[in-house]
């Protein structure tokens, strides 16, 4: 269908249609992702069980008071930790590998079934409910941030080599040199506690007011490094020949900047930006735990503190999956921005 409507049928024969190439590419990349995910899984598994024995996990879950050895055995049995870690010498054939903690806990993840956390909750369900809050902070931060950073960088580029530019860069470096913790502590203190503008922390149904502060703080925290980076990209573009040509055509500085520079700076910007989009789901560890936002970031922190292996492993898996998705998205976005780029 695609071919029939194309103006030059000959070209069709040489390169397969775009959407078929795309599907082939996607399949190849997904196959490529499998060994990576297996590697990630092995690594987390190894790291975790070098530290913890299943007994430790049981004790962690069972609390301090009056924990008997029987209770520990029972807990391990109930949660499937009563098997050997990697290789089951007692079993025969394929069961040597499948009847182990590693296999039993990992295999199902590849179909996105994360099983139950060590305290008995359904992890997939938890992830689904927590994704919303995470996104409601991360997405506005990302989008508004992108707009603000790029405009700020454009402004600095527009005024390059003037006092405004120098002041801007200095401001960026200053902002970069402050630890993210200070932004959060300071923001809560000033905006929440002194000025009573928004709730200090919390998260409510459809609450715009809960989202404002974390988003503002998130944006301010990233302004330094991002704006500076975009500025560097724009400056590099503006030094190129086509910009000189455009100027010679009599385009105003603003037109040059917005029409030509911004468009051509797209590829380097996309490299850095698209890869993080899927990771927005994971939320932010610091922001979420400070503001009491029930997202995936605070889930992860809690799991680390509680040494809940099932959750940590699920989050690592999810993180890697989203990262790989980000890489693929980046490649695809190149072809959309610049048709000369071919997927290979």
């Amino acid at each position: 269908m695609y071919c029939a409507s194309a103006r030059t049928p000959a070209a069709c024969k040489i390169t397969p249609p775009y959407n078929i190439r795309m599907i082939a590419y996607l399949i190849r990349r997904l196959l490529y992702a499998l060994p990576i995910l297996i590697g990630v899984n092995l690594l987390t598994f190894a790291l975790f069980f070098v530290v913890n024995t299943p007994d430790d996990m049981a004790r962690m879950q069972l609390g301090v008071k009056r924990v008997t050895p029987e209770a520990i055995v029972l807990w391990k049995q109930q949660h499937g930790y009563d098997k050997p870690l990697m290789i089951n010498h007692a079993a025969a054939g394929a069961k040597q590998f499948t009847n182990t903690i590693f296999w039993q806990k990992s295999a199902s993840m590849f179909v996105l079934d994360f099983g139950y956390s060590d305290d008995g909750r359904n992890i997939s369900r938890e992830i689904v409910t927590r994704m919303g809050p995470s996104l409601s902070i991360a997405l506005p931060t990302f989008l508004a941030g992108l707009v603000i950073y790029v405009s700020f960088a454009l402004l600095m580029t527009l005024f390059r080599a003037t006092a405004l530019d120098i002041a801007g860069v200095t401001l960026c470096v200053m902002l970069m040199s402050i630890s993210g913790l200070f932004y959060i502590i300071g923001g809560q203190f000033l905006i929440g506690k002194l000025w009573h503008l928004v709730p200090v922390s919390g998260y409510g149904g459809g609450g715009f007011k809960f989202v404002v502060l974390p988003v503002v703080i998130g944006i301010i925290g990233g302004i330094g490094s991002s704006s500076r980076w975009y500025r560097a990209i724009f400056l590099e573009e503006i030094g190129r020949d086509y910009v000189r040509t455009a100027r010679a055509k009599g385009l105003s500085e603003l037109q040059v900047l917005f029409i030509h520079v911004l468009k051509n700076a797209m590829i380097p910007i996309l490299t850095g930006v698209v890869v993080v989009i899927p990771l927005l789901f994971m939320g932010s560890l610091l922001t979420e735990s400070f503001f009491g936002i029930p997202g995936l970031g605070s889930y992860t922190i809690d799991a680390i503190n509680a040494q809940d292996f099932s959750v940590v492993r699920a989050m690592v898996f999810l993180g890697s999956l989203l990262y790989i998705a980000g890489l693929i998205l980046t490649d695809i976005s190149y072809t959309l921005v610049d048709p000369r780029v071919r997927l290979s």
Binding site: L62, T68, H196
Partner: protein, 742 residues
């Protein structure tokens, strides 16, 4: 001009509003109690939950037979679901009844007969829903029926039913259910007749039919029997007066078998619909919203009518207004909203803004809010007084101590270590130096350290006076604690001018020299004395603790090495006896000295017996006295034995006794009937709020400060205008340049 007027109007309008209210504005004016929880509960099943943060919810949802009187002190058990206190009958080994004053060794069985109040009802729940034929409506659900169900409230029907004695018996059976985590099965199986065998029976049944629902109603438990609709009996081995305290814990609350059957249906667990997540209770509240990542809401159980606000209390309660609501049906609020608040700063800020009604000052971050006045009385600071915030104090029935490991050759009591297969070779090596162990020397060393570590200073720095230095494991308010000169630890304190005074450092140094370490250096080997302290401390502010501790030891010239580890490793070390000193704490299960003194019972030794005696202390005389004291009723005789035990402890100093923390609760002026009660966990039903006053105060305290917004906005606007202006100038200049002849 018009715009400016509009702006002003807008400012005025918005200024009246409160912007930072974290709750829906529709909830204004309702009798809702707002409080916070800092950690999500792991278990909400009364057979499995055993920690304070879980009881904060459970104790208000489930109604065990007994409870602690809210107002009276010392702590006293009163009926809750029972209509009177249990009737106890003692039997000898041949099942013959004995008089109430029979000697303990003759008593082979005690029978507790409990009458519950008739007509109590469970919370509304779909497990009780009945269809037109009167049959359970939701007992044969298909997975598809659950598609839109996320909480029990999502079912279209619910029902309730009368609480029966059989439900109480059912719950006791659940304590032995091997499918559940059973924290008190170990203790209870020693007392309740047949419980141990019952667990085995259940295990076997499970093995035979692993996929079937385990129906406990079909399997009788001999020690627990139903007498009639409202009466049941529990038979226990021997005499165990502390058993009544257990009856006040949710472990012994009623559990309808329907609930377990309901949740056992396929598809429930995947949706987190379990008894461990959605309780089914007969208490004053029920859990109506369960989002432990954010919010837990308890709503008033519409079928709870069995309890009134107590009519009598302590002497000071009437003037304090604590009896104003006497005779009102409980609970006094319609809803309790618990918000998750993991970080202390937001918690504290929100309390000051009026969004929490009360705040426990559990973290030491709040302590500057408190001023300890002349007589040692605490009060809130001036600014908070102006807000109408008041404070109530109580000493917690817990003790935070630093134990010496009795098995350690340097600081220990030359206790013997029975090697276990798990112990590392390294540790066995250290234990072989037992021959060099000299009990007298170690005792002097421990005593010296006990004097040198100044817990009065610790309390004033880290708790701002929120605690009292401990003289023994027994905190005030527990039988066996002695006020005044008789109660002091004579090894560490002198009684001076009517108050205990810590012995001077010179005394500690003298003891240290007598122990053979003059100025912290071993006489024989000339090696400096190094002591290791194990702790799990690695969090915020713990560094200060450890620095302080090191400072205390430095005064003696002894080097303290702090080995902080994660929780698991620490537990592991304590279990293996691989420590020298360690931080530990104990929260009482019930207000009885036995619950504290057993922590030092030799038979409870952690390493050799896996018990709760983490320092592995053992002293035959102490153990003998403990066994004698254990099952006695409170009496002067018991006090005498306890005194003797404490003297042994003081002399041996197996712990730095540490301190008993004080609980401070801050509350706003609109909250009534708050009296600290460290034993009762079901206090919420007594509290009352004046919602109108609360709304007024909140509005008054939280006027948004708008000038920064205006300032920021105008600055941005000016900046934009300036940029625009500069750009225009530039363009003009350029076009001029382009047009001008070169």
């Amino acid at each position: 001009m018009k715009y400016i007027a509009g702006f002003l109007l807008l400012t005025l309008l918005t200024a009246c509003d409160v912007w930072n209210n974290p709750y829906p504005s529709a909830d204004a004016g309702k009798a809702i109690l707002y409080t916070a929880f800092t950690e999500r509960p792991k278990h909400l099943d009364p057979a499995q939950a055993y920690s304070e943060n879980e009881y904060a919810f459970l104790a208000n949802i489930y109604a065990p037979p007994l409870q602690y009187h809210y107002l009276k002190r010392p702590y006293q058990l009163v009926p809750q679901a029972a209509d009177s206190m249990p009737v106890i009958t003692y039997l000898d080994s041949r099942q013959r009844q004995l008089p109430a004053d029979a000697p303990a060794e003759k008593i082979a069985f005690s029978v507790y007969e409990i009458h519950i109040k008739p007509g109590m009802h469970y919370q509304p729940h779909p497990a009780f829903a009945r269809d037109a034929q009167g049959l359970p409506e939701y007992f044969h659900l298909k997975p598809a029926d659950l598609n839109d169900i996320h909480a029990p409230g999502d079912f279209s029907h619910s029902g309730t039913r009368v609480v029966t004695a059989a439900d109480y018996v059912y719950q006791i059976k659940r304590l032995a259910n091997p499918q559940l985590h059973q924290p008190i099965f170990g203790v209870m199986s020693e007392y309740i007749i047949g419980l141990k065998e019952y667990a085995q029976t259940l295990q076997q049944t499970l093995k035979k039919h692993p996929d079937d629902f385990l129906d406990l109603t079909a399997l009788p438990l001999p020690g627990v029997t139903v007498v009639n609709e409202t009466t049941y009996r529990i038979t226990i081995h021997g005499k165990y007066p502390q058993f009544a305290y257990w009856l006040a814990m949710p472990f012994f609350a009623p559990m309808p078998p329907e609930a377990e059957r309901f949740y056992a249906q396929a598809g429930m667990k995947e949706r987190n619909l379990t008894l461990d997540w959605w309780p089914v209770g007969s208490g004053p509240y029920y859990l109506s919203q369960n989002d432990p990542n954010r919010l837990m809401v308890l709503s008033k159980n519409p079928d709870y009518h069995s309890e009134l606000y107590p009519a009598e209390g302590e002497a000071g309660d009437l003037p304090a207004g604590l009896l104003a609501d006497a005779g009102h049906p409980l609970p006094l609020t319609d809803k309790v909203v618990f918000t998750l608040e993991k970080e202390t700063i937001p918690y504290w800020s929100k309390f000051l803004q009026g969004y929490y009604d009360a705040s426990g000052i559990s973290s030491d971050s709040f302590d500057q809010a408190i001023q300890v006045t002349g007589g040692g009385e605490a009060s809130v600071s001036g600014a908070m007084q102006a807000q109408g915030i008041t404070l109530s104090t109580s000493v917690a029935t817990s003790t935070l101590y630093t134990g010496f490991n009795w098995l350690d050759p340097v600081v220990g009591g030359c206790g013997r270590h029975i090697p276990s297969p798990q112990s590392s070779p390294l540790m066995d090596e250290s234990k072989q130096s037992d021959s060099t162990c000299n009990p007298e020397r170690a005792r002097k060393l421990r005593q010296a350290i006990s004097i040198a570590v100044d817990f009065e200073e610790f309390i004033s720095i880290f708790a701002n006076g929120r605690g009292i230095a401990a003289q023994s494991p027994i905190p005030p308010g527990i039988f066996g604690y002695r006020e005044g000169a008789a109660g002091i630890n004579s090894v560490v304190y002198d009684w001076v001018n009517g108050a205990p005074e810590r012995k001077p450092l010179t005394a500690a140094k003298r003891l240290l020299a007598e122990a053979g370490y003059p100025d912290g250096v071993d006489e024989k080997t000339h090696q400096p004395l190094v002591i290791n302290l194990d702790t799990t401390a690695s969090g915020v502010g713990d560094k200060a603790h450890l620095d302080w501790m090191r400072k205390q030891f430095n005064q003696l010239g002894v080097q303290l090495v702090v080995r902080s580890t994660d929780y698991n490793r620490f537990q592991d070390k304590v279990r293996r006896g691989d420590t020298q000193m360690f931080y530990y704490g104990w929260n009482a299960d019930y207000p009885d000295p036995e619950n504290f003194l057993f922590l030092l019972d030799g038979a409870q030794g952690k390493v050799n017996h896996g018990g709760e005696n983490a320092s592995n202390y053992s002293n035959p005389e102490y153990d003998r006295l403990f066994n004698e004291m254990k099952n006695m009723e409170n009496s002067p005789d018991r006090q005498l034995i306890i005194d003797r035990m404490l003297t042994i402890l003081h002399d041996d100093s197996p712990w730095l006794w540490g301190y008993h923390p004080k609980n401070y609760v801050l509350q706003h002026g609109w909250l009534y009937n708050v009296k600290p009660n460290v034993m009762a966990t079901n206090k919420l039903k007594y509290w009352r709020v004046d919602a109108k006053l609360r709304d007024e105060r909140r509005a008054q305290w939280n006027k948004p400060v708008l000038w920064p917004l205006w300032l920021g906005g105008s600055a941005m606007l000016l900046f934009a205008l300036w940029i625009w202006h500069v750009l225009r100038q530039r363009e003009n200049a350029r076009s001029l340049q382009d047009n001008s002849p070169v």
